[in-house]
């Protein structure tokens, strides 16, 4: 790796100030994506502003009809959380599908959602549950947050501090993992709030995570049975030799059925 400095921030304000002062900085959360990216030369910041020592960015709390998860909370903590298990167990099940046990011990929810890798799992839950991203300066609705592959509405120096997930009546996630990397080739998260259905799809969208509105409308009108046999041929999906768009469309269809069958 190139040489770089590390600043361990103790407050959010201190982190942002250090980031702005340096001019060539990146924020570091769990490091499970950023450190490998730096080792392979895909990222080469002059300063890493480490967020891991800032108090208050880590932890899980149920507040009324909402589950608040600090951005620095690790996947292993989401899996082990009693609050997650009672409020939105699908989030715990999703976290258990991320990478492997060693990576889950370091990787964070906020790091994953801030990076917005089109093949990562949690953006599907964020979109389907209509979560709110709480940053050091504002609140961003899920609908406004994801802006493209590895792109979000976060400003360059903005820090994701917590995510607030509305608690649904039911939710489930189904994933087709890449056999080598473990990332999602396709992942479908379904959530029901009363009669309102929301479906988020990760892994396959040409522009990253998206809502499967055809399925949402069908579910709204006809219930779970209506989600059978949807025409997903019009979706704009990634297309590569290993996983052609037609395969991905079929996978989204069967993953939708798998997720609904878990409810």
């Amino acid at each position: 790796m190139n040489t770089f400095d590390i600043f361990r921030a103790s407050t959010l304000d201190g982190a942002v100030a250090a980031f702005r002062d340096h001019g060539d900085a990146m924020y570091l959360s769990g490091g499970m994506t950023l450190v490998p990216s730096m080792k392979s030369g895909l990222a080469a910041p002059g300063l890493l502003v480490d967020l891991s020592a800032i108090k208050g960015l880590r932890g899980i709390a149920r507040e009324g009809n909402m589950l608040r998860i600090g951005a620095l909370t690790r996947f292993s903590e989401i899996i082990a959380s009693a609050d997650v298990a009672t409020a939105i167990p699908a989030l715990g099940a999703m976290a258990a599908k991320v990478a492997d046990r060693h990576v889950r011990n370091r990787g964070t929810l906020g790091g994953s959602v801030a990076n917005n890798d089109p093949a990562s799992d949690f953006p599907a839950a964020v979109l389907a549950l209509g979560a709110t991203m709480v940053t050091d300066r504002r609140r961003i609705a899920a609908a406004d947050y994801f802006t493209g592959l590895f792109e979000t509405a976060l400003e360059a120096d903005e820090v994701l501090a917590a995510l607030e997930f509305p608690i649904p009546d039911a939710a489930a996630y189904a994933k087709h993992a890449h056999p080598a990397s473990g990332y999602a080739v396709a992942g479908v998260f379904v959530a029901r709030f009363g009669d309102d259905w929301r479906v988020g799809v990760t892994g396959s969208g040409e522009e990253g995570v998206f809502r499967l509105t055809q399925a949402e409308q069908a579910l709204q009108q006809g219930g779970i049975k209506a989600a059978e046999g949807l025409n997903l041929g019009e979706l704009e999906l990634l297309d590569d030799a290993t996983f052609p768009a037609a395969f991905r469309a079929a996978a989204i269809g069967w993953l939708l059925r798998d997720a609904l069958a878990q409810l």
Partner: protein, 166 residues
């Protein structure tokens, strides 16, 4: 440069290092603990797994300068006590769970952690699922799974009788 005070296998170690130093390089270089291996260096193979504050991590993906003072690191060198192999090491030996042995330190650390986190019991299916982050290119895993179960049983973890190896 950053100066760190770490607890490594129970001993307090103070070391000054470049900010870009990975935990695995700190262990293998200045701290002289070469039992932790660098296999892929791309966060996939698990040869570099150590326990950090009681949790397994891939030490090739952890920047040493981000560790808190007093952070606890456990490596393969700290597993045996008084010259006697840990029951998990003994099981790896008895079950022939290694050939070249390069990945073994990461597997043993992972296996001990797995056994300690499943006091209610382990099965071959759980072991296989939890070994997802450790790659072995020699053995084909059959003997590794058998060793983890035998080692866990020796550590007092309930294991279905039929699943403990030959």
């Amino acid at each position: 440069m950053t100066t760190l005070t770490l607890s490594v296998n129970g001993s307090t170690r103070r070391v000054t290092t470049e900010d870009r130093t990975l935990l695995v390089d700190l262990l293998r270089g200045p701290l002289g603990l070469t039992g932790t291996h660098v296999g892929c260096d791309t966060s996939q193979c698990g040869a570099c797994v150590v326990r950090l504050n009681g949790e397994t991590v891939k030490s090739c993906s952890v920047l040493a300068a981000t560790l808190d003072d007093g952070a606890m690191v456990e490596t393969i060198e700290g597993v045996a006590s008084d010259g006697a192999l840990h029951p998990m090491q003994q099981a790896f030996s008895e079950c022939h769970a290694l050939q070249c042995g390069f990945c073994t330190p990461g597997f043993v650390i992972t296996a001990i952690d797995m056994a300690e986190r499943h006091p209610e019991g382990l099965s071959a299916a759980i072991v296989r699922a939890e070994l997802k982050g450790n790659l072995c290119r020699c053995t084909g895993y059959q003997n590794i799974v058998a060793a983890v179960l035998q080692g866990a049983a020796a550590m007092g973890v309930p294991v279905p009788e039929r699943e403990v190896s030959q």
